[in-house]
């Protein structure tokens, strides 16, 4: 019973700045367990920063954050993370299998090698994303889209209660893109999902709620991009037009 009432994510009055440049100002919102949140907003608007605050990688200047009812750094073993897919560190000598096994670090003991149980779990995750045949390939030899699949497998193998994704389909071919979201939808039965996306098609078809982040945050408990969000994030509509708006996403024009 108690678990049902604990919100998946809770932010109260969060302020954050890099050096002295404010990035996020007075952010408050609550996400209920089992939600599927799509985060939109212009580049540099603070989406990734917000995600890193929730993961405990960054600490806010002010305010309160709870993930699964705990402080972010305490909850970190219960969360999954798919970072932005960058080309950095691609000469690092590590195989696809070993990258996926990193997702088991939260469960396995320090100072011990991975257990016999970890490898079948990694195999299962790699099969789900269709990368099992590349298990011995060096990670740097993969294409951007293939690497993205591996990063998703790495997050899944941790069996997270809440999954954070930073533009999971950025470099992925369109076919696999809908695969990923179908897959996340299935996963959403068991886990809360928070994803940053530029693709409004995703919002209309998959997510349950939307947040627009541009220094401040507007949260909407339905999969609708409100006029308020459009006004706040000027760049949002550019993306909307570029992708063609499924009419369900935008509410009827409201007169204030």
């Amino acid at each position: 019973m108690r678990e049902l009432t604990t919100p998946a994510v809770e932010m109260k009055g969060i302020w954050f700045s890099y050096e002295r440049t404010p990035v996020l100002e007075d952010i408050s919102f609550t996400l209920k367990e089992g939600d599927f949140l799509g985060m939109i907003g212009p580049n540099g608007g603070g989406k990734t920063t917000l995600l890193k605050l929730l993961l405990g990688i960054l600490k806010p200047d002010r305010g309160l954050i709870r993930v699964l009812g705990e402080e972010p750094h305490r909850a970190r073993r219960r969360v999954g993370y798919v970072p932005q897919n960058t080309d950095s560190n691609n000469t690092f000598p590590v195989s696809v299998m070993d990258v996926v096994l990193m997702g088991r670090l939260a469960i396995s003991r320090m100072g011990k090698s991975f257990s016999a149980k970890d490898r079948p779990m990694a195999e299962e995750a790699l099969r789900k994303v269709g990368m099992w045949n590349s298990k011995n390939t060096p990670i740097g030899k993969l294409s951007g889209g293939q690497r993205q699949r591996v990063l998703i497998a790495r997050a899944l193998v941790a069996e997270p209660e809440i999954l954070f994704l930073d533009e999971p389909t950025a470099k992925v071919d369109p076919e696999f893109e809908s695969n990923i979201y179908d897959f996340l939808k299935e996963l959403n039965r068991r886990a809360t999902i928070v994803t940053i996306t530029h693709d409004v098609g995703v919002i209309s078809r998959y997510v349950k709620s939307v947040a627009c982040v541009n220094r401040t945050l507007i949260y909407h408990e339905e999969a609708q991009i409100t006029n308020e969000m459009l006004e706040m994030a000027y760049e949002c509509p550019v993306d909307l037009i570029a992708h063609g708006i499924p009419h369900r996403v935008l509410p009827h024009h409201e007169h204030h």
Binding site: R76, Y81, N89, F92, P93, D98, V99, M102, S113
Partner: protein
């Protein structure tokens, strides 16, 4: 050549080269993949302050170097964790201050004029047996620590943020790595001197990275390369009667260029091949 092995100093030199190469391969690989080459340079030069202190107060200069190197590694580690954007500047400042302190303390040491060259460019031919007995447990500690935390070090080196989210104590391991780097550096100073430390620490892993598929293999190949460079350099310096530390580094440098040329040729062969295929697809 073989008659040289009759001498104690030559046997000690080879053993020192072997012990240093092992820690060099392990720690050097971690230094390269974690991009802490600059901090390592800073630690090596700041260690010179400890050499000066040793002379001034009349204790072992290498003990002083070890103390200064570990102190510098902790300060630089804390600074780079706290203030990422200005860390390189602060490391550069500590680098220079350490050197200056060392030189002035040696100036102030009465009477005795020290052979600075042996600290700047190494003195592998003058390693006493007692030093070997210090290097052995240090090697053992580094080997065991990296073995124990191997999967954590791999995760930390590949993707620090993800490792953090998975509950790996990344800050503690980072400081442990810097501490082990400091002790490796003090050993390497014995062999090639503090000015050339960076070359021996980074050249073998840099070559090895291209031919290996895991961090462990990279460490192993780096150690083997390091042993080859050290022994070959030592032999050449004996035959031609030239400074051993500099010869070892030159041998490593030749290895570096040789591997680069090899990679370049390999790239040349691969690219036209790939192009052919894409042309084929386009038609």
């Amino acid at each position: 050549m073989w008659e040289a092995l009759q001498y104690d100093f030559m046997r000690n030199a080879l053993l020192a080269g072997l012990l240093v190469s092992i820690s060099c391969g392990i720690i050097g690989s971690l230094v390269v993949v974690n991009r802490i080459v600059f901090i390592s340079g800073g630690i090596a030069h700041a260690a010179f302050g400890g050499v000066g202190l040793g002379f001034f107060y009349g204790f072992s200069p290498f003990l002083g170097a070890a103390a200064f190197a570990s102190g510098a590694s902790l300060i630089m580690g804390a600074v780079s964790l706290k203030n990422k954007h200005r860390a390189d500047t602060i490391i550069g400042v500590l680098w220079a201050i350490g050197m200056a302190v060392g030189i002035i303390l040696i100036d102030l040491t009465p009477g005795y004029h020290v052979d600075l060259m042996s600290y700047l460019f190494g003195s592998i031919l003058a390693v006493p047996s007692a030093d070997l007995w210090l290097m052995l447990p240090l090697d053992g500690f580094i080997f065991l620590a990296v073995l124990f935390f191997y999967k954590e070090f791999v995760a930390l080196s590949y993707d620090e943020e993800f490792a953090f989210v998975m509950g790996v104590p990344v800050k503690t391991l980072y400081l442990l790595l810097l501490g082990m780097t400091a002790f490796s550096i003090v050993m390497i100073i014995r062999v090639v001197g503090l000015i050339l430390v960076i070359a021996l620490l980074t050249i073998p892993p840099f070559i090895a990275e291209k031919y290996t598929r895991s961090l462990g293999h990279m460490m192993l190949l780096s150690s083997i390369l390091s042993i080859c460079f050290t022994f070959l350099g030592l032999w050449l310096s004996y035959v031609f009667d030239i400074t051993s530390g500099a010869t070892i580094i030159l041998v490593a440098g030749v290895g570096f260029f040789f591997s680069q040329i090899l990679n370049f040729i390999k790239g040349k062969v691969e690219i036209p091949f790939r192009k052919q295929w894409s042309d084929h697809e386009n038609h």
